[in-house]
């Protein structure tokens, strides 16, 4: 037990850093993508203008005035088109985000409901030292608030540390840190998780098989996340590690602390992204100045890039791509949009990015995606998982929280389409989720129970 606790203490550190990174990264990058898209459409517009310009130039000067008046009209028409593109892709993007969030939540809820381990209280993290076993309500509340303050300050310190590292170009350190933490996640947590699941279903497995399975899982995961890999596999891995992280949080955070932490994190998120001196803002600006993408392995990306950087539209080159091209786009469009963006690539990007903006022929077909930070996944899943674990109304509450979070995500994406900057994804969804959780648990549950016992239907 002691060994386990020690492990969990030490492993929590990188994981917490990761979480802090992720919650720091949680302002989703969709704005970036949308911004890219807008600049994308802008490029298309510029291209059309150029082409029509070249078409018109051979004509006589009398047409020059027409082209002049024609161009502004076309410009405004194209601007509208730009907005349309944003919104038309809007629904698709929302769904592209719904699916992974839903999957993550389903995994977490399924595990919570079936595996007893994650609902037993086996101790707490060192980040939440105050226990909640006290008898009086006031004391408990005080303890949970103190826990929250400690946790949030840890997260803030980690985020600032990360931003400083980034500012002073200690890339190796950051990469090493990330690799270490994802290593820990992939191997250790998976081992624990698998062990518990096997225990629950009373399935025997010998150590060599276990070792083989976990080794393969972990190795492929490392490669997929930090380097190249098929998009869906990468997405699947990211969902799995988010779910694992969320499960750890659900297990090790005492109840009231968990709710207060959720609330506090969304406020922090709001401030960190929108305040001018917030660490995340600074991160964005620094990345923008340097014209380069940020961190691998912390952002979930839903897009496939279908362009290839060739001089002419070459159908052979338009294969299903890798994320690298995302980076290429990033590098190019960086100056126009706040770039939280990145994809999960690392150094392979650096040779690619410096394509000039005027090489418009490259932009053939693009399927723009949306990016969401992994911290968002984790905290959504923590909310739903906590609802599943502790609510006595069971599934109704869980379902209500789920719908609330999805609607919050919808609204956030809508705001994104309107504002076109990096926005925090946590506040709206978490607020809705919390409101719905508490109200459903206390108000709706007795109502529904009474209705069901009389078999009345509304």
């Amino acid at each position: 037990m002691i060994t386990f606790m020690n492990n969990s203490d030490s492993e929590e550190e990188p994981c917490n850093e990761r979480t802090s990174l992720m919650s720091a990264e949680s302002p989703p990058v969709p704005s970036y993508q949308d911004g890219l898209q807008a600049s994308e459409a802008g490029e298309a517009q510029a291209r059309r203008k150029r082409r029509t310009g070249s078409n018109r130039s051979p004509n006589n000067i009398a047409d020059g005035e027409m082209s002049d008046s024609g161009v502004p009209v076309r410009e405004s028409a194209l601007e509208n088109e730009e907005e349309e593109l944003t919104l038309k892709y809007g629904a698709k993007h929302v769904i592209m985000l719904f699916v992974p969030v839903t999957l993550c939540m389903i995994v977490v809820v399924a595990t919570i409901k079936s595996v007893r381990f994650y609902t037993e209280k086996n101790g707490q993290l060192i980040y939440t030292p105050f226990s909640e076993d006290t008898t009086s309500v006031g004391q408990r509340l005080l303890n949970s608030v103190l826990n929250t303050i400690i946790m949030i300050s840890v997260i803030v310190v980690m985020t600032v540390f990360l931003v400083l590292l980034y500012k002073y170009r200690c890339y190796k350190f950051i990469h090493g840190w990330l690799i270490l933490s994802s290593l820990m996640l992939l191997f250790l947590f998976t081992y624990i998780y698998l062990g518990e699941v096997l225990k629950t279903y009373n399935v025997a497995m010998d150590y060599p098989t276990l070792f083989l399975v976990i080794w393969n899982f972990g190795a492929v995961g490392m490669i997929c996340i930090h380097w190249k890999g098929p998009l869906q596999l990468q997405q699947a891995y990211l969902i799995m590690i988010s779910a694992l992280m969320a499960l750890v949080f659900i297990k090790y955070l005492p109840e009231w602390s968990a709710w207060v932490i959720l609330g506090a994190i969304s406020i922090y998120d709001l401030m960190a992204v929108l305040c001018p001196k917030g660490p995340l803002r600074m991160l964005v600006e620094t990345a923008q100045e340097r014209n380069e993408p940020i961190f691998p392995a912390l952002i979930y990306s839903s897009a496939m890039m279908w362009t290839v950087g060739m001089a002419k539209p070459d159908t052979a080159a338009r294969g299903p791509s890798q994320q690298m091209w995302d980076a290429a786009e990033d590098g190019r469009e960086n100056h126009r949009s706040p770039s939280h963006a990145d994809s999960q690539m690392s150094e392979t990007r650096s040779p690619v990015p410096t394509r000039p903006i005027t090489s418009l022929e490259e932009l053939e077909e693009e399927e723009r995606g949306v990016k969401l930070g992994l911290g968002d996944f984790i905290f959504y899943s923590v909310l739903v998982g906590k609802a599943a674990a502790t609510a006595s109304g069971d599934w109704n509450t869980t379902l209500a929280c789920f719908v609330a979070i999805l609607i919050g995500l919808c609204l956030t994406l809508l705001l994104l389409a309107v504002f076109k900057k990096a926005l925090p994804a946590l506040p709206i969804s978490i607020t809705f989720g919390l409101v719905f959780y508490f109200s459903t648990d206390n108000l709706v549950r007795p109502f529904m129970d009474t209705l069901a016992s009389h078999q009345l239907y509304i």
């Binding site: 038309k88 929302v94 069971d394 609607i407 459903t440 009474t450 078999q455 009345l456 239907y457 509304i458």
Partner: protein, 232 residues
Amino acid sequence: PALGLFLFTIARDPLRIIILIAGAFFWLVSLLLSSLIWFIAVKASDPQDEQLQKGLLIFGVMFSVLLQEAFRFLYYKLLRKAIEGLVALSEDGCSPISIQQMAYVAGVGFGLMSGAFSMINLLADTLGPGTVGIHGDSQLYFLTSAFMTMVLIFLHTFWGILFFHGCEHRRWWEIMAVVVMHLAVSGSTFCNPLYVGSLVPSYLLMATAAAWAYLLSGGSAQNLWRFLLCKS
């Protein structure tokens, strides 16, 4: 069946999924408010009085039905505005989704949420050990619950179509008819251990609503006949 509806008709188009989830959300909010009212009423009254509790429950149910319809109306307003926005931004001047489709999807959203809330705890209990009706209640509890839920989901779908159609063409009697039907269905569940009283009228009402909605959506007996004969 509701899941089938969802998979075949809604899951393809992302916009419809969003409308579905938003519909579910509106239903949820209406449920929340109505249970709030009920809760306050219960707390303010005497918990020992059986008759009063029953009366309060009935009041709660009716109020909830009215609130649901009110929220359906609000949702209609929201969707109207959304359609105008979509039309303004679309390329060829017509929106990618028509108001009837929205009506259908909204109805399914309401229905799914209502069905889920009614059924899901029951389903979870069915996994566990136990005997149905051991205390003298009906043994058909699960079956009838399942059927009732299904009929309610379908009804919500049809009511959605009828309601939106009524709002579009300003036919107040259609809207009133929907409200009255909803009240009737909920009311019929009051005689519930006597299942004949609740299931049969509900199914009849559902058939009526289905036919009405079908006619409103532009179908006709001829279309149906052709479809059944596989367009021969």
